[in-house]
């Protein structure tokens, strides 16, 4: 009995010490998906879905447990930052898998590979957000990019999907090469160090000023491609338009969140010595992203393209939070807004996926009169869109308020003013869709709705289509209500300054 207790205590301690245990569980789940699909010859889709969900949940639970275990003993802020982002990525993967299973089954594609790529992308993002040396950062970034690339080309018969894959592959290759060039300069200047904190010690900032600028510029360009900040955003709308909708939902949040974690860590740790110049440069990028993203989004006709430009502008808002970090609050405003952004964006995309499944279109025009046909879908979409725009009672408003207030306190007056003005523009184009849904005459989209619904009923055999609706409603509710619970979220995220 004593032995067992000792063994259990040892096991607990070991698993709490093993900080990559959540990732290991994800890898096991990923292998299990492949093996079970092989053994059951692609028949048992529901089991695969359950396995991936259970894996993600177990990973999230263990992550939270480890986090609690460690904060009881020692408190390290860098670890808090990484843990928060790993948890965000797990939430993204959970919600997006549950909202995309129906789509995959209804369009008669194989589920196993899809789940594998999603788990792999989530894994890459998780490793990226807690990686501490340049090699791991690069490998996990490639992991994320390659899985996203396969996901975006998942509908092989669609020409636009193929084009999106090609563009995504080339762009991610180009951005990785830029990032690697910056990394190689860092590696050389620090005298052959790979760990981020040792690089900071190794670099002599006074003597090699100009070449460190160059390295910072290349690294910024490489990560800005991943974040799709303004001058590096051209791939975003095309890839978003071509890829299948649930996949777009996935990488509008996952790759953004992971790249954000990388960006913040790299520049918070390595380049704090010339923070003035860096602040000016990133501030310019954020300003242009906000202005152009919102202005171009007004003119779009496809919902996916519109959301692509809106996500570009949202990244601009998040950048305010990165810039306004101080030692008192850390990156609290940025992390809080990122959390709310994940929920809002996934909710919006879940609604669009459901609409696309029923009607087979994603033109804004076809949303006319949706209120008459499906009030639940309409209300969820309205809630998510208003939250994205930042209407007062919803959580998007509180997130933006906290972000802008924080930015104002940090002295980023022009940036906050631009953000306020562009928020108003964004409310205009979100409200345009909402107005269309409530007042528009439902004309030509009647017939495809019926035929699609018939095929949907006959097709969704093993998995009820509830999971998509559940994910949609969860996201809508969370993006509405998390504004009320914003205080504890801020309290958790406050201690995250390196």
């Amino acid at each position: 009995m004593n032995d067992i207790n000792l063994f259990l205590a040892k096991l607990t301690y070991t698993s709490a010490k093993l900080t990559i245990l959540p990732e290991i569980i994800l890898i096991l789940g990923l292998v299990a998906v492949v093996v079970i699909d092989l053994l059951s010859k692609g028949k048992n889709t529901f089991l695969l879905y359950k396995i991936s969900m259970v894996t993600l949940l177990a990973s999230a639970v263990i992550l939270l447990w480890q986090w609690g275990f460690f904060t009881a003993y020692e408190r390290s802020h860098a670890r808090d930052f990484g843990n928060i982002f790993r948890f965000f990525l797990l939430i993204c993967s959970l919600l997006s898998i549950s909202s995309s299973v129906d789509y995959i089954l209804c369009s008669k594609m194989s589920l196993a590979e899809f789940l594998l790529f999603k788990l792999a992308a989530g894994l890459g993002g998780m490793v990226l957000s807690c990686a501490n040396d340049l090699v791991t950062i690069y490998v996990s970034l490639e992991f994320l990019a390659l899985s996203s690339c396969f996901l975006s080309g998942y509908t092989k018969r669609d020409m636009r999907s193929n084009e999106a894959t090609m563009k995504f592959l080339l762009m991610s290759g180009a951005s990785s090469s830029l990032l690697l060039y910056g990394f190689s300069l860092l590696y050389g200047l620090s005298g052959g160090q790979l760990q981020l904190d040792k690089i900071v010690d190794g670099i002599i900032f006074n003597r090699y000023g100009s070449i460190i600028y160059l390295s910072a510029a290349f690294t910024t360009a490489g990560t800005a491609f991943k974040l799709s900040l303004f001058p590096f955003h051209q791939w975003t709308p095309d890839v978003y338009e071509g890829s299948p909708t649930p996949v777009v939902a996935f990488f509008s949040v996952t790759s953004k969140v992971a790249a954000l974690a990388l960006f913040t860590r790299l520049f918070g740790l390595i380049f704090p010595y010339f923070s003035n110049e860096w602040h000016v440069a990133v501030g310019l990028l954020a300003t242009f992203s906000m202005i152009l993203g919102n202005l171009i989004a007004v003119t779009q006709r496809s919902v996916k393209r519109m959301l692509a430009f809106s996500s570009i502008s949202q990244i601009g808002y998040i950048m305010i939070g990165v810039l306004s970090a101080d030692s008192g609050n850390g990156y609290a405003s940025m992390i809080t807004y990122t959390f709310i952004y994940i929920l809002m964006n996934l909710g919006t995309f879940a609604c669009i996926t459901l609409f696309g499944l029923r009607t087979g279109t994603d033109n804004i025009r076809d949303y006319a009169g949706l209120y008459m046909k499906d009030p639940v879908l309409t209300f969820s979409l309205v809630l998510c869109l208003l939250s994205l725009g930042g209407m007062p009672p919803l959580s998007g408003f509180f997130g933006k308020l906290y972000l802008f207030w924080h930015g104002w306190k940090a002295g980023l007056y022009s940036l906050v003013l631009v953000a306020l003005v562009t928020s108003v523009i964004s409310i205009y184009y979100y409200l345009k869709i909402i107005k269309l849904m409530f007042t528009g005459k439902s004309g030509r989209s009647d017939t495809p709705l019926n035929s699609r619904q018939n095929s949907l009923v006959s097709l969704s055999i093993s998995i009820s289509k509830n999971s998509l609706e559940i994910a949609m409603i969860i996201c809508a509710l969370a993006s509405t209500l998390s504004g009320i619970f914003i205080d504890p979220i801020i309290e958790i995220t406050r201690n995250t300054f390196f």
Binding site: M109, A120, L146, Y208
Partner: protein
């Protein structure tokens, strides 16, 4: 300057000339087969560069993997695909000028900064560490120790990455219609081509 240093410089210049000419050929040649072969020249010269820099294992790996595997695959792929139609019409619009200007500015900034940096002042910390603990034996053994010691997490991650890449490649190459027929017999669902793709 003694004679061995002179020879070293000469070989280095020759190899770099090969890299430069080969990459220019890979970009500029009209016939894609020729550019694939000049890509092979670039890879070979890079491996020679590693030899000159005294990294023999990396050089051999580069030669085996890039020239032996990847470049041969590229040549095969180029030979199988059709001749592109209308490749002569290269319109040089405003985008061409902007790109050329950006590349020139980037190149001049890079060469200016690299030229003005005193690289010889850098203190190579791990280099001294290796030379003192040089009991590990040859270059390859040190590489192995590093890979399975310090870099074990990225190393194992790469194996998962290869798994994902393999599945992705199979997924791309698989005949989708066969899959659907299989699925139909398995779940007895009515076969209907999905029309929204």
């Amino acid at each position: 300057m003694n004679i061995s240093e002179l020879i070293h410089d000469f070989v280095l210049a020759l190899v770099e000339l090969g890299i430069l000419l080969g990459s220019l050929g890979a970009v500029l040649l009209v016939n894609t087969v020729n550019s694939a072969f000049s890509l092979g020249l670039v890879f070979t010269c890079i491996s020679l560069l590693y030899f000159v820099l005294n990294a023999d294992f990396v050089a051999a790996a580069q030669l085996l993997v890039y020239v032996g595997a990847i470049n041969v695959l590229t040549v095969f792929a180029v030979m199988i695909t059709d001749e592109p139609a209308g490749s002569e019409t290269t319109a040089r619009g405003i985008g061409y000028i902007i790109t050329a200007g950006t590349c020139t500015i980037l190149f001049s900034i890079l060469s200016f900064v690299i030229h003005n940096t005193k690289w010889s002042d850098l203190s190579l910390i791990p280099q001294s560490g290796i030379s003192t603990s040089g009991t590990l034996g040859s270059n390859v053994q040190q590489l192995g120790y590093k890979l399975l010691g310090e870099f074990v997490i990225p190393f194992e991650l790469l194996s998962i990455l290869l798994l994902a890449a393999l599945v992705g490649a199979i997924n791309l190459a698989r005949n989708e219609d066969a899959f659907i027929v299989n699925k139909k017999s398995a779940a007895s669902a009515p076969y209907k081509n999905s029309t929204f793709f």
